[in-house]
Subunit: 251 residues, 2 copies
Amino acid sequence: MTAAPNESAIVTAAVLVIGDEILSGRTKDKNIGYIAEYLTGLGIDLKEVRVVADDEAAIVEAVNALRHRWTYVFTTGGIGPTHDDITAECVAKAFGVPIGYDPRAVAIMRERFAEHELNEARMRMTRIPEGADLVLNKVSRAPGFWLGNVVVMAGIPTVMQAMLDEVAPKLKTGIKVLSQTVRADAKEGDIGTPLGEIAKAYPEVAIGSYPFFDEERGPNANIVLRARDAGKLADATAAVQDMLVRVKAAL
Amino acid sequence: MTAAPNESAIVTAAVLVIGDEILSGRTKDKNIGYIAEYLTGLGIDLKEVRVVADDEAAIVEAVNALRHRWTYVFTTGGIGPTHDDITAECVAKAFGVPIGYDPRAVAIMRERFAEHELNEARMRMTRIPEGADLVLNKVSRAPGFWLGNVVVMAGIPTVMQAMLDEVAPKLKTGIKVLSQTVRADAKEGDIGTPLGEIAKAYPEVAIGSYPFFDEERGPNANIVLRARDAGKLADATAAVQDMLVRVKAAL
Protein backbone atom coordinates (compact mmCIF):
# COMPACT_ATOMS: atom_id res chain seq x y z
CA MET A 1 0.00 0.00 0.00
CA THR A 2 1.46 3.38 -0.93
CA ALA A 3 0.54 6.48 0.98
CA ALA A 4 -0.83 9.49 -0.90
CA PRO A 5 1.18 12.72 -0.47
CA ASN A 6 -0.70 13.86 2.65
CA GLU A 7 -1.26 10.35 3.89
CA SER A 8 0.90 8.64 6.48
CA ALA A 9 0.21 5.27 8.01
CA ILE A 10 -1.34 6.39 11.29
CA VAL A 11 -2.90 9.76 11.99
CA THR A 12 -4.45 10.20 15.44
CA ALA A 13 -6.76 12.66 17.12
CA ALA A 14 -8.39 13.63 20.38
CA VAL A 15 -11.64 15.48 20.97
CA LEU A 16 -11.92 17.98 23.81
CA VAL A 17 -15.48 18.96 24.68
CA ILE A 18 -15.63 22.15 26.72
CA GLY A 19 -18.74 23.04 28.67
CA ASP A 20 -20.37 23.00 32.10
CA GLU A 21 -23.71 22.16 30.48
CA ILE A 22 -22.43 18.77 29.31
CA LEU A 23 -21.04 17.92 32.76
CA SER A 24 -24.26 18.95 34.52
CA GLY A 25 -26.22 16.74 32.13
CA ARG A 26 -28.41 19.66 31.07
CA THR A 27 -27.17 19.37 27.48
CA LYS A 28 -26.53 15.94 26.01
CA ASP A 29 -23.43 15.99 23.81
CA LYS A 30 -24.05 15.19 20.17
CA ASN A 31 -20.61 16.07 18.85
CA ILE A 32 -18.42 13.23 20.13
CA GLY A 33 -20.19 10.50 18.16
CA TYR A 34 -20.41 12.68 15.06
CA ILE A 35 -16.71 13.59 15.08
CA ALA A 36 -15.72 9.99 15.87
CA GLU A 37 -17.56 8.65 12.84
CA TYR A 38 -16.35 11.52 10.64
CA LEU A 39 -12.68 11.00 11.54
CA THR A 40 -12.93 7.24 11.08
CA GLY A 41 -14.28 7.95 7.60
CA LEU A 42 -11.25 10.12 6.86
CA GLY A 43 -8.76 7.52 8.10
CA ILE A 44 -7.94 9.39 11.32
CA ASP A 45 -7.91 7.34 14.54
CA LEU A 46 -9.75 9.01 17.40
CA LYS A 47 -7.75 7.88 20.44
CA GLU A 48 -9.14 9.86 23.33
CA VAL A 49 -11.97 12.18 24.31
CA ARG A 50 -12.12 14.51 27.28
CA VAL A 51 -14.94 16.67 28.57
CA VAL A 52 -13.95 19.53 30.88
CA ALA A 53 -15.74 22.45 32.51
CA ASP A 54 -15.63 26.12 31.47
CA ASP A 55 -12.59 26.47 33.69
CA GLU A 56 -9.32 27.99 32.55
CA ALA A 57 -6.96 25.65 34.40
CA ALA A 58 -8.87 22.55 33.25
CA ILE A 59 -8.98 23.65 29.61
CA VAL A 60 -5.32 24.70 29.42
CA GLU A 61 -4.18 21.45 31.02
CA ALA A 62 -6.29 19.30 28.72
CA VAL A 63 -5.23 21.17 25.55
CA ASN A 64 -1.57 20.74 26.47
CA ALA A 65 -1.91 17.09 27.47
CA LEU A 66 -3.71 16.19 24.26
CA ARG A 67 -1.81 18.28 21.71
CA HIS A 68 1.52 16.78 22.68
CA ARG A 69 0.16 13.28 22.42
CA TRP A 70 -1.96 13.08 19.26
CA THR A 71 -1.70 14.34 15.68
CA TYR A 72 -4.75 16.58 16.05
CA VAL A 73 -6.96 17.93 18.80
CA PHE A 74 -10.50 19.04 17.96
CA THR A 75 -12.20 21.18 20.58
CA THR A 76 -15.90 21.97 20.71
CA GLY A 77 -17.62 24.72 22.68
CA GLY A 78 -16.78 27.96 24.41
CA ILE A 79 -16.24 30.29 21.46
CA GLY A 80 -19.44 32.36 21.66
CA PRO A 81 -19.95 35.97 22.82
CA THR A 82 -20.63 35.44 26.53
CA HIS A 83 -18.39 35.52 29.62
CA ASP A 84 -18.37 31.72 29.90
CA ASP A 85 -16.85 31.43 26.41
CA ILE A 86 -13.17 31.23 27.30
CA THR A 87 -11.80 28.62 24.91
CA ALA A 88 -9.86 31.02 22.65
CA GLU A 89 -8.12 32.67 25.62
CA CYS A 90 -7.29 29.25 27.08
CA VAL A 91 -5.85 27.89 23.83
CA ALA A 92 -3.67 31.02 23.51
CA LYS A 93 -2.50 30.44 27.07
CA ALA A 94 -1.81 26.75 26.41
CA PHE A 95 0.40 27.70 23.45
CA GLY A 96 1.90 30.71 25.24
CA VAL A 97 0.96 33.12 22.45
CA PRO A 98 -0.83 36.50 22.62
CA ILE A 99 -4.47 36.86 21.68
CA GLY A 100 -6.21 39.89 20.21
CA TYR A 101 -8.93 41.11 17.88
CA ASP A 102 -8.12 39.45 14.56
CA PRO A 103 -8.64 41.74 11.53
CA ARG A 104 -9.80 38.81 9.35
CA ALA A 105 -12.39 37.81 11.97
CA VAL A 106 -13.46 41.44 12.44
CA ALA A 107 -14.01 41.74 8.67
CA ILE A 108 -16.25 38.65 8.71
CA MET A 109 -18.29 40.02 11.61
CA ARG A 110 -18.62 43.41 9.86
CA GLU A 111 -20.19 41.63 6.89
CA ARG A 112 -22.79 40.11 9.14
CA PHE A 113 -23.46 42.80 11.75
CA ALA A 114 -24.15 46.52 11.56
CA GLU A 115 -21.55 48.69 13.30
CA HIS A 116 -23.81 49.41 16.31
CA GLU A 117 -24.34 45.67 16.81
CA LEU A 118 -20.61 45.04 17.02
CA ASN A 119 -20.51 45.49 20.78
CA GLU A 120 -17.92 44.14 23.21
CA ALA A 121 -19.68 40.76 23.45
CA ARG A 122 -19.76 40.13 19.70
CA MET A 123 -16.20 41.42 19.36
CA ARG A 124 -15.14 38.64 21.79
CA MET A 125 -15.79 36.27 18.92
CA THR A 126 -13.05 37.97 16.88
CA ARG A 127 -10.38 37.29 19.51
CA ILE A 128 -8.05 34.77 17.90
CA PRO A 129 -4.63 33.61 19.15
CA GLU A 130 -1.63 34.93 17.21
CA GLY A 131 -0.51 32.62 14.42
CA ALA A 132 -3.85 30.83 14.05
CA ASP A 133 -5.69 30.25 10.79
CA LEU A 134 -9.41 30.94 10.78
CA VAL A 135 -11.90 28.11 10.35
CA LEU A 136 -14.81 29.60 8.46
CA ASN A 137 -18.41 28.50 8.71
CA LYS A 138 -21.45 29.54 6.72
CA VAL A 139 -23.99 28.75 9.42
CA SER A 140 -23.20 31.31 12.11
CA ARG A 141 -20.35 33.07 10.28
CA ALA A 142 -18.33 33.59 13.50
CA PRO A 143 -15.11 31.66 12.80
CA GLY A 144 -13.31 28.98 14.71
CA PHE A 145 -9.54 28.69 14.35
CA TRP A 146 -6.67 26.30 13.88
CA LEU A 147 -3.47 26.82 15.86
CA GLY A 148 -0.63 24.31 15.61
CA ASN A 149 -2.41 20.95 15.69
CA VAL A 150 -5.46 22.21 17.58
CA VAL A 151 -8.70 22.89 15.73
CA VAL A 152 -11.12 25.03 17.76
CA MET A 153 -14.77 24.66 16.81
CA ALA A 154 -18.19 25.78 18.05
CA GLY A 155 -20.32 23.63 20.33
CA ILE A 156 -23.59 24.00 18.42
CA PRO A 157 -23.71 20.83 16.30
CA THR A 158 -24.71 22.45 12.98
CA VAL A 159 -21.93 25.03 13.31
CA MET A 160 -19.38 22.44 14.44
CA GLN A 161 -20.26 20.23 11.48
CA ALA A 162 -19.78 23.10 9.03
CA MET A 163 -16.37 23.82 10.56
CA LEU A 164 -15.35 20.17 10.34
CA ASP A 165 -16.28 20.16 6.63
CA GLU A 166 -14.13 23.27 6.23
CA VAL A 167 -10.99 21.76 7.80
CA ALA A 168 -11.36 18.16 6.57
CA PRO A 169 -9.70 18.68 3.14
CA LYS A 170 -6.64 20.20 4.86
CA LEU A 171 -6.06 17.38 7.36
CA LYS A 172 -3.38 14.74 7.03
CA THR A 173 -5.18 11.45 6.76
CA GLY A 174 -4.02 7.90 7.34
CA ILE A 175 -4.78 4.67 5.59
CA LYS A 176 -8.44 4.06 6.27
CA VAL A 177 -9.43 1.40 8.73
CA LEU A 178 -11.61 -1.20 7.04
CA SER A 179 -14.18 -3.02 9.08
CA GLN A 180 -16.40 -6.09 8.92
CA THR A 181 -19.29 -6.85 11.22
CA VAL A 182 -20.32 -10.45 11.84
CA ARG A 183 -23.57 -11.02 13.68
CA ALA A 184 -22.80 -13.86 16.06
CA ASP A 185 -26.33 -15.18 16.66
CA ALA A 186 -24.73 -16.64 19.77
CA LYS A 187 -24.15 -15.48 23.32
CA GLU A 188 -20.90 -13.69 24.06
CA GLY A 189 -20.20 -16.11 26.90
CA ASP A 190 -20.35 -19.07 24.51
CA ILE A 191 -17.91 -17.64 21.98
CA GLY A 192 -15.60 -15.56 24.18
CA THR A 193 -12.79 -18.08 24.54
CA PRO A 194 -12.38 -19.10 20.86
CA LEU A 195 -12.85 -15.47 19.81
CA GLY A 196 -9.97 -14.49 22.10
CA GLU A 197 -7.80 -17.11 20.38
CA ILE A 198 -8.59 -15.63 16.97
CA ALA A 199 -7.77 -12.15 18.30
CA LYS A 200 -4.38 -13.46 19.43
CA ALA A 201 -3.74 -15.15 16.07
CA TYR A 202 -4.47 -11.92 14.15
CA PRO A 203 -2.68 -9.17 16.08
CA GLU A 204 -3.09 -6.64 13.24
CA VAL A 205 -6.86 -7.03 13.33
CA ALA A 206 -8.71 -5.33 16.20
CA ILE A 207 -11.60 -7.56 17.15
CA GLY A 208 -14.39 -6.26 19.36
CA SER A 209 -17.48 -8.01 20.64
CA TYR A 210 -20.57 -5.87 21.24
CA PRO A 211 -23.45 -7.54 23.02
CA PHE A 212 -27.02 -6.58 22.30
CA PHE A 213 -30.41 -7.96 23.18
CA ASP A 214 -32.21 -9.61 20.31
CA GLU A 215 -36.01 -9.78 20.58
CA GLU A 216 -36.05 -13.24 19.02
CA ARG A 217 -32.96 -14.94 20.40
CA GLY A 218 -32.23 -12.97 23.58
CA PRO A 219 -28.57 -12.16 24.29
CA ASN A 220 -26.66 -11.78 21.03
CA ALA A 221 -23.48 -10.02 19.91
CA ASN A 222 -21.92 -8.30 16.93
CA ILE A 223 -18.30 -9.13 16.28
CA VAL A 224 -16.57 -6.15 14.69
CA LEU A 225 -13.22 -6.67 12.98
CA ARG A 226 -11.10 -3.64 12.05
CA ALA A 227 -7.82 -3.51 10.16
CA ARG A 228 -5.93 -1.44 7.61
CA ASP A 229 -4.99 -4.50 5.53
CA ALA A 230 -7.86 -5.94 3.48
CA GLY A 231 -6.30 -9.41 3.21
CA LYS A 232 -5.73 -9.81 6.94
CA LEU A 233 -9.22 -8.51 7.62
CA ALA A 234 -10.71 -11.10 5.24
CA ASP A 235 -8.69 -13.93 6.83
CA ALA A 236 -9.69 -13.01 10.37
CA THR A 237 -13.34 -12.58 9.32
CA ALA A 238 -13.33 -16.05 7.79
CA ALA A 239 -11.79 -17.43 10.99
CA VAL A 240 -14.57 -15.84 13.05
CA GLN A 241 -17.26 -17.21 10.74
CA ASP A 242 -15.78 -20.74 10.87
CA MET A 243 -15.53 -20.54 14.65
CA LEU A 244 -19.18 -19.49 14.97
CA VAL A 245 -20.34 -22.46 12.89
CA ARG A 246 -18.19 -24.83 14.96
CA VAL A 247 -19.20 -23.45 18.34
CA LYS A 248 -22.90 -23.34 17.55
CA ALA A 249 -22.86 -26.91 16.24
CA ALA A 250 -21.34 -28.04 19.55
CA LEU A 251 -23.88 -26.27 21.83
CA MET B 1 -26.83 25.00 55.90
CA THR B 2 -25.82 21.92 57.84
CA ALA B 3 -24.51 18.86 56.11
CA ALA B 4 -26.20 15.51 56.71
CA PRO B 5 -23.91 12.76 58.10
CA ASN B 6 -22.71 11.54 54.71
CA GLU B 7 -22.91 14.96 53.12
CA SER B 8 -19.98 17.32 52.72
CA ALA B 9 -20.04 20.60 50.87
CA ILE B 10 -18.51 19.47 47.60
CA VAL B 11 -18.37 15.92 46.29
CA THR B 12 -16.85 15.49 42.84
CA ALA B 13 -16.70 12.77 40.21
CA ALA B 14 -15.25 11.78 36.88
CA VAL B 15 -16.63 9.37 34.30
CA LEU B 16 -14.28 7.11 32.35
CA VAL B 17 -15.84 5.52 29.28
CA ILE B 18 -13.84 2.55 28.03
CA GLY B 19 -14.34 1.23 24.53
CA ASP B 20 -12.97 1.22 20.98
CA GLU B 21 -16.54 1.25 19.65
CA ILE B 22 -17.20 4.72 21.07
CA LEU B 23 -13.97 6.10 19.59
CA SER B 24 -14.66 4.62 16.16
CA GLY B 25 -18.13 6.17 16.24
CA ARG B 26 -19.77 2.79 15.65
CA THR B 27 -21.57 3.02 18.99
CA LYS B 28 -22.88 6.37 20.20
CA ASP B 29 -22.36 6.77 23.92
CA LYS B 30 -25.57 7.10 25.92
CA ASN B 31 -24.02 6.81 29.37
CA ILE B 32 -22.21 10.14 29.82
CA GLY B 33 -25.35 12.27 29.67
CA TYR B 34 -27.28 9.84 31.85
CA ILE B 35 -24.62 9.69 34.57
CA ALA B 36 -24.11 13.47 34.42
CA GLU B 37 -27.78 14.14 35.08
CA TYR B 38 -27.97 11.40 37.72
CA LEU B 39 -24.97 12.72 39.69
CA THR B 40 -26.23 16.30 39.51
CA GLY B 41 -29.49 15.04 41.00
CA LEU B 42 -27.55 13.45 43.87
CA GLY B 43 -25.54 16.58 44.58
CA ILE B 44 -22.30 15.22 43.09
CA ASP B 45 -20.39 17.51 40.72
CA LEU B 46 -19.22 15.76 37.57
CA LYS B 47 -15.93 17.52 36.80
CA GLU B 48 -14.39 15.55 33.97
CA VAL B 49 -15.12 12.82 31.46
CA ARG B 50 -12.62 10.77 29.49
CA VAL B 51 -13.14 8.20 26.77
CA VAL B 52 -10.26 5.80 26.13
CA ALA B 53 -9.70 2.73 23.97
CA ASP B 54 -9.64 -0.91 25.08
CA ASP B 55 -5.94 -0.45 25.75
CA GLU B 56 -4.27 -1.37 29.02
CA ALA B 57 -1.85 1.54 29.24
CA ALA B 58 -4.56 4.08 28.39
CA ILE B 59 -7.03 2.68 30.93
CA VAL B 60 -4.51 2.36 33.77
CA GLU B 61 -3.26 5.90 33.20
CA ALA B 62 -6.74 7.38 33.10
CA VAL B 63 -7.92 5.50 36.21
CA ASN B 64 -4.92 6.72 38.16
CA ALA B 65 -5.16 10.31 36.91
CA LEU B 66 -8.83 10.54 37.77
CA ARG B 67 -8.99 8.66 41.07
CA HIS B 68 -6.36 10.88 42.67
CA ARG B 69 -8.15 14.01 41.58
CA TRP B 70 -11.87 13.50 42.22
CA THR B 71 -14.01 12.02 45.00
CA TYR B 72 -15.34 9.25 42.74
CA VAL B 73 -14.57 7.73 39.36
CA PHE B 74 -17.31 5.87 37.50
CA THR B 75 -16.14 3.66 34.65
CA THR B 76 -18.36 2.15 31.97
CA GLY B 77 -17.54 -0.71 29.62
CA GLY B 78 -15.09 -3.55 29.29
CA ILE B 79 -16.39 -5.97 31.94
CA GLY B 80 -17.96 -8.61 29.69
CA PRO B 81 -16.75 -12.13 28.84
CA THR B 82 -14.65 -11.44 25.73
CA HIS B 83 -10.92 -10.82 25.21
CA ASP B 84 -11.47 -7.07 24.70
CA ASP B 85 -13.01 -6.78 28.19
CA ILE B 86 -9.95 -5.76 30.18
CA THR B 87 -11.28 -3.14 32.59
CA ALA B 88 -11.14 -5.29 35.75
CA GLU B 89 -7.52 -6.30 35.09
CA CYS B 90 -6.59 -2.68 34.38
CA VAL B 91 -8.22 -1.33 37.54
CA ALA B 92 -6.39 -3.98 39.59
CA LYS B 93 -3.16 -2.89 37.92
CA ALA B 94 -3.91 0.80 38.56
CA PHE B 95 -4.36 0.06 42.27
CA GLY B 96 -1.47 -2.41 42.37
CA VAL B 97 -3.63 -5.19 43.82
CA PRO B 98 -4.03 -8.83 42.73
CA ILE B 99 -7.06 -10.00 40.78
CA GLY B 100 -8.66 -13.43 40.84
CA TYR B 101 -11.91 -15.35 40.59
CA ASP B 102 -14.08 -13.87 43.32
CA PRO B 103 -16.14 -16.47 45.26
CA ARG B 104 -19.06 -14.02 45.67
CA ALA B 105 -19.13 -13.33 41.93
CA VAL B 106 -18.76 -17.05 41.13
CA ALA B 107 -21.77 -17.79 43.38
CA ILE B 108 -23.86 -15.22 41.48
CA MET B 109 -22.87 -16.72 38.13
CA ARG B 110 -23.67 -20.24 39.42
CA GLU B 111 -27.21 -19.08 40.18
CA ARG B 112 -27.64 -17.93 36.62
CA PHE B 113 -25.68 -20.47 34.59
CA ALA B 114 -25.52 -24.25 34.55
CA GLU B 115 -22.10 -25.69 35.40
CA HIS B 116 -21.29 -26.60 31.75
CA GLU B 117 -22.06 -23.02 30.71
CA LEU B 118 -19.51 -21.63 33.17
CA ASN B 119 -16.67 -21.72 30.68
CA GLU B 120 -13.48 -19.67 30.73
CA ALA B 121 -15.17 -16.71 29.01
CA ARG B 122 -18.03 -16.43 31.49
CA MET B 123 -15.63 -16.99 34.40
CA ARG B 124 -13.76 -13.87 33.23
CA MET B 125 -16.73 -11.94 34.55
CA THR B 126 -16.00 -13.20 38.07
CA ARG B 127 -12.48 -11.78 38.09
CA ILE B 128 -12.57 -8.99 40.66
CA PRO B 129 -9.62 -7.07 42.15
CA GLU B 130 -8.75 -7.92 45.74
CA GLY B 131 -10.47 -5.70 48.30
CA ALA B 132 -13.32 -4.65 46.00
CA ASP B 133 -17.01 -4.73 46.88
CA LEU B 134 -19.36 -6.14 44.27
CA VAL B 135 -21.90 -3.92 42.54
CA LEU B 136 -24.89 -6.13 41.90
CA ASN B 137 -27.35 -5.73 39.05
CA LYS B 138 -30.60 -7.53 38.34
CA VAL B 139 -30.52 -7.03 34.58
CA SER B 140 -27.54 -9.15 33.50
CA ARG B 141 -26.60 -10.48 36.96
CA ALA B 142 -22.83 -10.29 36.23
CA PRO B 143 -21.57 -7.83 38.85
CA GLY B 144 -19.53 -4.68 38.59
CA PHE B 145 -17.34 -3.66 41.52
CA TRP B 146 -16.24 -0.79 43.69
CA LEU B 147 -12.58 -0.49 44.65
CA GLY B 148 -11.37 2.50 46.66
CA ASN B 149 -13.15 5.44 45.04
CA VAL B 150 -13.58 3.75 41.65
CA VAL B 151 -16.95 2.27 40.67
CA VAL B 152 -16.68 -0.12 37.73
CA MET B 153 -19.86 -0.57 35.72
CA ALA B 154 -21.03 -2.25 32.51
CA GLY B 155 -21.26 -0.39 29.21
CA ILE B 156 -24.74 -1.56 28.23
CA PRO B 157 -26.97 1.34 29.33
CA THR B 158 -29.69 -0.74 31.04
CA VAL B 159 -27.08 -2.67 33.03
CA MET B 160 -25.09 0.46 33.86
CA GLN B 161 -28.24 2.19 35.09
CA ALA B 162 -29.11 -0.73 37.39
CA MET B 163 -25.58 -0.61 38.82
CA LEU B 164 -25.79 3.14 39.39
CA ASP B 165 -29.05 2.64 41.29
CA GLU B 166 -27.29 0.01 43.38
CA VAL B 167 -24.37 2.25 44.40
CA ALA B 168 -26.23 5.56 44.69
CA PRO B 169 -27.48 5.10 48.29
CA LYS B 170 -23.90 4.38 49.42
CA LEU B 171 -22.28 7.45 47.87
CA LYS B 172 -21.26 10.53 49.81
CA THR B 173 -23.32 13.37 48.41
CA GLY B 174 -22.83 17.10 48.56
CA ILE B 175 -25.23 19.95 48.93
CA LYS B 176 -27.30 19.88 45.79
CA VAL B 177 -26.73 22.48 43.14
CA LEU B 178 -29.92 24.43 42.51
CA SER B 179 -30.56 25.86 39.09
CA GLN B 180 -32.76 28.39 37.35
CA THR B 181 -33.19 28.76 33.62
CA VAL B 182 -34.16 32.10 32.14
CA ARG B 183 -35.12 32.18 28.49
CA ALA B 184 -33.48 35.32 27.15
CA ASP B 185 -35.66 35.95 24.10
CA ALA B 186 -32.67 37.96 22.96
CA LYS B 187 -29.50 37.27 21.02
CA GLU B 188 -26.44 36.22 23.03
CA GLY B 189 -24.44 38.96 21.35
CA ASP B 190 -26.83 41.61 22.63
CA ILE B 191 -26.72 40.49 26.27
CA GLY B 192 -23.19 39.12 26.58
CA THR B 193 -21.57 42.19 28.12
CA PRO B 194 -24.14 42.94 30.88
CA LEU B 195 -24.47 39.20 31.56
CA GLY B 196 -20.72 39.02 32.13
CA GLU B 197 -21.02 41.88 34.64
CA ILE B 198 -23.69 39.96 36.57
CA ALA B 199 -21.49 36.85 36.53
CA LYS B 200 -18.68 38.92 38.08
CA ALA B 201 -21.00 40.39 40.70
CA TYR B 202 -22.22 36.94 41.80
CA PRO B 203 -19.08 34.78 41.99
CA GLU B 204 -20.89 31.97 43.86
CA VAL B 205 -23.41 31.61 41.07
CA ALA B 206 -22.26 29.83 37.90
CA ILE B 207 -23.96 31.51 34.97
CA GLY B 208 -23.98 29.88 31.56
CA SER B 209 -25.47 31.07 28.32
CA TYR B 210 -26.66 28.42 25.86
CA PRO B 211 -27.64 29.62 22.42
CA PHE B 212 -30.34 27.90 20.42
CA PHE B 213 -32.26 28.66 17.27
CA ASP B 214 -35.84 29.64 17.82
CA GLU B 215 -38.20 29.08 14.86
CA GLU B 216 -40.06 32.32 15.62
CA ARG B 217 -37.34 34.70 16.76
CA GLY B 218 -34.19 33.23 15.27
CA PRO B 219 -31.07 33.21 17.47
CA ASN B 220 -32.07 32.94 21.11
CA ALA B 221 -30.42 31.76 24.33
CA ASN B 222 -31.15 30.15 27.66
CA ILE B 223 -29.37 31.63 30.65
CA VAL B 224 -28.76 28.92 33.23
CA LEU B 225 -27.84 29.95 36.77
CA ARG B 226 -26.50 27.34 39.20
CA ALA B 227 -25.63 27.71 42.89
CA ARG B 228 -25.79 25.84 46.17
CA ASP B 229 -27.26 28.83 48.01
CA ALA B 230 -30.93 29.48 47.24
CA GLY B 231 -30.78 33.16 48.27
CA LYS B 232 -27.81 33.97 46.06
CA LEU B 233 -29.39 32.07 43.19
CA ALA B 234 -32.60 34.09 43.55
CA ASP B 235 -30.70 37.40 43.66
CA ALA B 236 -28.65 36.59 40.56
CA THR B 237 -31.74 35.36 38.72
CA ALA B 238 -33.55 38.61 39.48
CA ALA B 239 -30.50 40.55 38.26
CA VAL B 240 -30.56 38.63 34.97
CA GLN B 241 -34.28 39.22 34.52
CA ASP B 242 -33.91 42.95 35.19
CA MET B 243 -31.00 43.16 32.79
CA LEU B 244 -32.98 41.44 30.02
CA VAL B 245 -35.86 43.91 30.37
CA ARG B 246 -33.39 46.82 30.31
CA VAL B 247 -31.37 45.58 27.34
CA LYS B 248 -34.39 44.66 25.22
CA ALA B 249 -36.02 48.05 25.86
CA ALA B 250 -32.86 49.73 24.57
CA LEU B 251 -32.56 47.69 21.35
